[in-house]
Symmetry: C2
Subunit: 154 residues, 2 copies
Amino acid sequence: MAGDHERGRGAIDAILGLHLRLAHGAVSRHFVRHFAHLALTQKQVSVLWLTGDRPGIAQTDLARCLRMDRATTMGIVHTLEARGLIRRGRDAGDRRRMALALTPTGEALLGEAKAAIAEHERWLCTRFTDAEVATLFALLRRIHEPESDDDASD
Amino acid sequence: MAGDHERGRGAIDAILGLHLRLAHGAVSRHFVRHFAHLALTQKQVSVLWLTGDRPGIAQTDLARCLRMDRATTMGIVHTLEARGLIRRGRDAGDRRRMALALTPTGEALLGEAKAAIAEHERWLCTRFTDAEVATLFALLRRIHEPESDDDASD
DNA sequence: TATTGTTATACTCTATAACTATA
DNA sequence: TATAGTTATAGAGTATAACAATA
């Protein structure tokens, strides 16, 4: 702010968004390394997980839960279906919707993925106390949860 | 598996990495919307900012600061150079290195970008108290800063 | 040998637009 | 009209591999 010349390290270090981006990148890279054997991305695991929790879920629901575009969701679901992990059928009640469910193969892979996620989370959380983890949960939630109006300031 | 538990919301909500990803996505989307008029991405702003702070900086330095691959850095620098925002010349001391600097156009655009970043940060931080912002800084830093060994547990 | 830059390649994510089918 | 899905397209980010020039 009032600083005039920050040789070496500028005020860029004071940008919260940057640290959020770097933290996300670090966690993302760790994820990729530790999920290479399962050949699953973060998004794909999330979709498998949600589908396992809520059989019959539609793509629109996935998109809303994971803040994804419908087209993006479509791509991920299509990939998982092509790998035989997810099955699709028309929803009986509303024939516009696709009812998604895991195949047995998908169930098995989700089990492995959950175990890998647990390890991944352990790696992430070991650097924090339980109280710090709870704090981080609450603060991050306030960034992405639409409690106050998302764009009121615009 | 019928009737047990977590109808609607499963334990996936308890994954810290997911909340970090969603928070990053929310901030990222806000950034894109509010930087459309400048036609700059987060990475591009970061590179401009660092180059402005440290004229003569090399691509390797940028890559290390922003945790990017050399090839990724190359792509970003190339884009900025093509737009006339950055100038490149060989480093006199070490002729392998490219010494980067902003052009006058780049300086001007960086000024606008910094103002837009300030607004963006305001949007992000208004939901927090000053103490919460400081906490978030500290916690995020411990995720991406290589203080403890990054991969000791692997 | 190691480092720096460069090019080529590939995949994921993201977003927009236009289209079909159903409500 | 509105919603759900689909397809096509495009750009950004990420990463790897291979290569040339320099240290």
